[in-house]
């Protein structure tokens, strides 16, 4: 009878004697030919449910496979706000907090490219943090959001040559909220600027750039003075009323 060590050696040198082979090889069972049983009803029912769920999802959300519908009419970037937390009395929230929160939801549209943290992706999507386009006046931002950008542009010292889709199909309010969010969250604002953009200002932007067809180029954007602000009244951050 050989010791365990010997057996190991035999195995390495490829002994032909089965008895001397290493135990793990000997003890192993053979793989039997696959069976052909029926799994019964339960998995079938489960599969049926999965099919119904998947098919239902597809036809509810596919919008007849139209190429021009980007956002489903019933898509809410987040659950609808409830102003009441269940105990019956509505609590006071600063207007700016809910405005920012809504802006963050709209930002869900941008995060795919500019990243949730606003850092962008090197060479592909420019950052919003530390970007002169965000830190400057609101007129350029309004133009960018309503019409998009195409072609080469320089952001924070890096050059990009891509397409930024236009977001003019969003409501004025949503555009206002997302610009506010981007400026306050990622921008470094000049002294005395609270970063807020109102619905009224976005309406003014649409009006201001209504002759533009197709996305802006960098040169066209540069033609808008860097510190130009969209016209509109400033608001009280607590109540949201115009000052």
């Amino acid at each position: 009878m050989s010791t365990g060590d010997d057996r190991n050696l035999d195995y390495e040198s490829g002994t032909a004697s089965v008895v001397d082979m290493h135990d793990s090889v000997r003890r192993e069972k053979i793989l039997q030919p696959s069976g052909a049983e029926s799994l019964g009803l339960f998995p079938l029912v489960l599969c049926g449910l999965v099919l119904i769920a998947g098919g239902g999802f597809l036809f509810k959300n596919a919008n007849g496979f139209s190429d021009s519908t980007y956002i489903n009419s019933d898509y809410r970037p987040d659950p609808k706000p409830v102003t009441d937390d269940g105990d019956g009395e509505a609590e006071e929230v600063a207007w700016i907090d809910s405005w920012m929160k809504e802006g963050k939801k709209v930002y869900g549209n941008c995060a795919a490219c500019h990243q949730p943290t606003g850092t962008g992706a090197p060479g592909m999507f420019p950052p919003l943090t530390g970007s002169e386009w965000v830190d400057g006046g609101t007129a350029r931002l309004g133009a960018i959001l309503v019409h998009g950008i195409n072609g080469p542009m320089t952001v924070a010292g890096q050059s990009y040559n891509q397409l930024m889709p236009a977001w003019g199909t969003l409501s004025d309010k949503k555009i206002a909220q997302v610009i506010t969010y981007v400026r306050r969250e990622f921008g470094s604002l000049p002294e005395g600027d609270d970063g807020v953009v109102t619905t009224e200002m976005v309406a003014a932007a649409r009006d201001m750039f209504k002759s533009q067809s197709g996305p802006f180029t960098e040169a066209q954007l540069k033609a808008i003075p860097e510190d130009k602000q969209l016209p509109g009244a400033k608001v009280d951050l607590q109540t949201g009323d115009p000052l």
Partner: protein, 482 residues
């Protein structure tokens, strides 16, 4: 019913294992080394999120670099190499073919390791691309694709000249995995390159991640499960028909997944809708596989207590089901917008790569390594530790993920909670991720130590297998179950 292996079978097995010895051990050990690197980096990147100011001065340790390094090491260093090791061995055993010119694979494996190292160093020194799991500089992509193909071509001649007339289900999965990956990798690479439309590039990134999981990790893990479970239960697969259906479902639908993450984003609405439906349809494959395996194992669940291979594989399959279900849940219109850009999705990736793929592959390794090294795993206690620390790590991860995801979503819908607190809720996830990676790192220490002992031939030399409970002395009834 037990069918005894004949002497002929045993001799054949032994010679196949011998031909596999160096290539497979090479892939396993270098994969394990990368896994170690990856878990440490994973822990540090989670820590960076928790304590953002940590090592502020040093840009080499920024989150933006540590996290991609961690993912690259985890996927290309660990997962791909471990998967290829498993693929080679399983294919040889199933086709009953020895590996010819095995040293060739080892040489190519070295090139692969060098590539992964270069990729990690490039990201470290700031040449990364910030595309999840494709972070390495663009010029490396063709190299990765070529070297990968040079590693997997070895299974094709084995498959072509197989000695078994009928094709076992695992072979379908293995051939599938071998061929799908280059397709997924090259397609994603082209769509992400400079010339492509930017919107397409963003979508292609998430398509790649999704397909890496469903088209590469899942097939390999399922091939392992369909091999280990019947072997250890000493039974045939319950239903070959269902097993094959699972395969074709995966083949049909997995490629459509990925864009569901951009629901409401810059694509025509039908694209994410199709992806979402595909995610749901993949559940068919999950139902087919899990119920089939469960029926194969029926009445023998006690084996779970003793066989390490079975235990890891079964846990991996459980996490497979959890992963697929959570992915399907995350597209429900009610929760999707809240989860869309939260930590939830990156947590899901970890669940797939570690919880599901790695656990199953560990199961395969516990089975394969004793056979190719000719010694037994040194200690049952270490296997237990490896198992439980990993499992607890993953479970911590899932639980934190759910809490953080739900809390974040719930909060956003209530404007009367100040804006900043909705960020606070991510703390739960961040702390959870730290703990999870720490547990996983500890669990892997047990594994590396054991694997290293096996590698240098210092494993146990005794008769019986190393079983989780009951030790090797009283394992008469359980022989053949390791």
């Amino acid at each position: 019913m037990t069918v005894q292996a004949t002497d002929e079978d045993i001799r054949e097995r032994a010679s196949i294992d011998r031909s596999m010895r160096f290539p497979v051990l090479f892939f396993f050990t270098s994969a394990a080394a990368w896994l170690f690197v990856a878990t440490i980096l994973g822990f540090f990147s989670a820590l960076k999120l928790r304590v953002p100011g940590l090592w502020e001065e040093c840009q080499f340790l920024g989150y933006g670099r540590v996290f991609p390094m961690h993912m690259i090491a985890l996927v290309y260093g660990w997962a791909l190499q471990a998967g290829i090791g498993v693929m080679l061995w399983l294919m040889a055993r199933l086709t009953r073919r020895e590996l010819k010119y095995g040293m060739g694979v080892v040489v190519i494996g070295h090139v692969w390791n060098a590539l992964v190292a270069v990729a990690v160093i490039c990201i470290w020194s700031g040449f990364g691309r910030s595309i999840p799991l494709l972070d390495f500089p663009g010029w490396m992509a063709p190299l990765f694709a070529m070297v990968y193909m040079a590693m997997v071509v070895w299974v094709i001649p084995m498959f072509k000249t197989r000695r078994e007339a009928s094709i076992y289900i695992s072979e379908y999965y293995l051939v599938g995995a071998a061929l799908w990956f280059p397709w997924v990798f090259i397609t994603a690479g082209i769509l992400i390159s400079k010339e492509a439309a930017p919107t397409m590039a963003a979508g292609a990134g998430s398509w790649f991640v999704s397909n890496l999981i469903y088209f590469w990790m899942a097939p390999i893990a399922l091939a392992v499960a369909y091999y280990i479970v019947p072997k250890i239960a000493d039974r045939p697969i319950y239903s070959y028909g269902w097993a094959k259906m699972g395969f074709w479902i995966l083949a049909l639908f997995a490629g459509w997944t990925g864009f569901q993450r951009y629901y409401g984003g810059p694509y025509p609405a039908w694209i994410p809708a199709v992806s979402g439906a595909a995610v749901v349809f993949v559940l068919l494959a999950v139902v087919a596989t899990i119920s089939n395996l469960a029926m194969t194992l029926r009445g023998k669940t006690k084996l779970w207590e003793i066989s390490p291979s079975l235990r890891f594989t079964a846990m991996g399959m459980f996490f497979f089901a959890v992963y697929a279900c959570l992915s399907a849940v995350s597209i429900i219109p009610m929760v999707q917008p809240a989860l869309q850009f939260s930590f939830f999705l990156s947590g899901l990736d970890v669940l797939a790569i570690y919880g599901f793929f790695s656990m199953t592959v560990f199961g395969a390794m516990y089975f394969i390594v004793p056979r190719i090294t000719g010694c037994e795993w040194p200690s049952a206690a270490s296997i237990r530790n490896h198992f439980w620390y990993s499992t607890y790590g993953i479970i911590t991860l899932i639980v934190c993920l759910l809490i953080a995801g739900l809390a974040q979503g719930g909060n956003l819908s209530r404007p009367n909670i100040p804006f900043s607190t909705s960020f606070m809720n991510s703390t739960c996830w961040v702390v959870g991720a730290c703990i999870a990676w720490l547990l996983i790192a500890v669990s892997n220490l047990w594994f590396f130590y054991q694997l290293a002992l096996m590698f240098v031939g210092k494993g146990r030399k005794s008769e019986g297998p190393t079983l989780i409970h009951g030790g090797h002395d009283n394992a008469e009834g359980a022989a053949g179950t390791a």
